[in-house]
């Protein structure tokens, strides 16, 4: 037990040292992997922006993912705007800045995509848009994506990344969880396939709704997957939580995801899963 404790402290010292090291590195050239703490030359992250040491998928823009994931993509609902339901001070400015940064109207990009011969509805959350938080527009876009898919008899693939609810939209953000769930249910009752792919980090209201509602749930290596934030757990419970508590590896071990898939394998895996899950109950697929 004592050895175990020492190992833990050692690990933490190592993290601290690395964080310091990261700050001293010339920006944009060397990065410290936030998961394995190795310093990585930026060019070694490659096309998929993953850690060569631990396969962690660094946080990437939705539009960059579309590039390597799909063969074609037609965006939908790019013009919906939030009504700022709480009339929250400076929220408009925050939204404007996030829009400029991400070239998105909110924290998710949605549309119809193709991989090979498979056409499906695709949503990709963007961790750079106010931390991927779920606002009314996010919820509306996900809902419309499921509604479109139900109407057109298509599968849905959703990449999640979210800091949780959009605080600036208060209770209306919370209501999105039920709104989306109802659309997911209708899609599922139509016998259609929903694949959720969890990316780093996925927390709060998104974990507690559509991220965990897939027929099949995949995760990228070392994605943080949780409901409560680490700080909330530590402050409320006065409990130091293990570093890997919300790591995809631990979530897999506890039975809440089907598999961990590395970024370079995602395209082929998704194509295969779409093909595998197009049958309908009562029909024998030929």
């Amino acid at each position: 037990m004592q050895l175990f404790d020492e190992l833990k402290t050692l690990g933490q010292k190592h993290i601290k040292a690395n964080k310091q090291a990261q700050q001293n590195l010339p920006s944009g050239v060397w990065l410290a992997c936030p998961k394995c703490q190795q310093s990585v030359y930026h060019k070694d992250l490659g096309r998929y922006f993953t850690c060569p040491n631990c396969d962690y998928g660094f946080r990437i823009a939705s539009r960059d993912r579309v590039e390597w994931l799909t063969d074609s993509f037609t965006e939908m609902d790019q013009d919906i705007e939030t009504a700022d339901p709480l009339d929250f001070p400076d929220y408009g400015k925050k939204i404007a800045a996030a829009k400029r940064k991400t070239d998105l109207n909110d924290s998710i990009l949605t549309g119809v995509a193709k991989i090979g011969s498979q056409e499906f509805c695709l949503g990709i959350m963007d961790p750079n848009f106010i931390m991927g938080s779920m606002g009314t527009v996010t919820g509306e876009k996900v809902t419309r994506l499921f509604e479109y898919a139900t109407e057109h008899q298509q599968a849905v693939v959703l990449f999640t990344a979210s800091g949780g609810a959009r605080m600036q939209e208060g209770i209306f953000s919370l209501m999105q969880m039920s709104k989306v769930s109802s659309a997911v249910k209708a899609h599922s009752q139509a016998g259609l396939f929903y694949l959720s792919v969890i990316t780093d980090p996925t927390t709060g209201g998104v974990t507690a709704s559509f991220a965990m509602q897939g027929d099949i749930i995949l995760s990228e290596p070392h994605a943080l997957i949780g409901f409560a934030g680490k700080r909330v757990i530590e402050q409320t419970m006065h409990q130091k939580i293990p570093e890997n508590l919300q790591d995809a590896d631990n979530i897999l071990q506890h039975g809440f995801i089907d598999a961990i898939v590395k970024r370079p394998d995602e395209k082929a895996t998704i194509e295969w899963l779409l093909e595998m899950n197009q049958g309908k109950a009562g029909e024998l697929s030929s």
């Binding site: 605080m167 209770i171 953000s173 209501m175 997911v184 599922s188 974990t207 965990m212 997957i225």
Partner: protein, 277 residues
């Protein structure tokens, strides 16, 4: 009790009963929602139902007492009852983690809701929680998955589900039992995406600005009724017996209306209730 029923769009009913009372700040309502004199879940059950049998367990490997579930009669009809309870004695409160349900509690609630559907019983849910249990153990037991499954499955349950928030309605932990056909709030209750303290510390890096946060968040029954998040407000006198009579006066006619709806229409209305946000 001063009650005036006013028909609204969609045939819903608002109870306007708060005249003559002085306007309270959102901060005061938050304090009232958390008041230690507030009725407990067990007391609420014994006041509202002539009979009640508690049913335990999630049928996976656990039973969490923060949600009391069971069967009872209400106005002569068999119902399934779910109550988030903060507990009374210190020991009880610790066992119930002060009314913060662990995943097993949500799984038990869904099991009982599915059973209610099988035997065509309406579901009455009573919510008073600061939020789902934020512990390492709850994370490993899949807190997010448990809530997500409630939201998904309840969207398709073919019996009426009526919820009353009678204290704190904390975020996803409350929504998991408030995603049915009607949600009512008692006068001294709140319903929000996060606690005002958490909200202030996230947005303004200062948890002491909770009172200000409460004002901005629109978490009071009045604000939520205006925003169409809830169906109505139930007057909450300090005497628990009188309070429970008020609850019964709202539940009985509403439940009657809901049970008369064909299942397809019930589900369509439930869907529309959330689709509008």
């Amino acid at each position: 009790m001063v009650v005036r029923n006013e028909p609204r769009k969609g045939g819903r009913i608002v109870i306007v009963s708060l005249f003559g009372k002085k306007q309270r700040t959102a901060g005061e309502i938050v304090a009232a929602a958390r008041d230690s004199q507030k009725i407990t879940g067990t007391e609420l059950i014994s006041e509202l139902f002539p009979d009640f049998m508690e049913m335990h367990g999630d049928r996976l490997n656990d039973d969490d007492p923060s949600i009391i579930g069971g069967l009872a009669h209400f106005a002569g009809q068999a119902v399934t009852v779910l109550v988030i309870d903060k507990g009374l004695s210190a020991k009880d409160r610790i066992a119930k983690h002060f009314g913060s349900p662990a995943p097993a509690a949500y799984r038990k609630s869904l099991r009982l809701i599915k059973q209610a559907e099988k035997f065509n019983r309406p579901v009455l849910a009573f919510v008073n929680t600061a939020g789902a249990y934020p512990a390492a153990s709850a994370e490993e037991q899949g807190q997010g998955e448990a809530i997500a499954r409630n939201l998904l499955e309840i969207a398709g349950v073919r019996v009426p589900i009526l919820t009353i928030i009678y204290g704190e309605g904390g975020s996803g932990g409350a929504l998991a039992l408030a995603c049915g056909d009607q949600v009512w709030m008692t006068e001294n209750s709140m319903y929000s995406v996060l606690s005002p303290e958490g909200f202030a510390s996230i947005l303004w890096k200062d948890a002491s600005k909770a009172a200000e946060a409460a004002e901005v968040m629109q978490l009071t029954p009045e604000a939520l009724l205006k925003a169409n998040v809830i169906e109505g407000i139930i007057p909450e006198p300090s005497a628990h017996k009188r309070f429970c009579r008020n609850l019964a006066q709202v539940i009985q006619p509403e439940l009657e209306k809901l049970t008369q709806l064909p299942a397809e229409e019930l589900l369509a209305q439930r869907h529309a209730r959330f689709r509008k946000f």
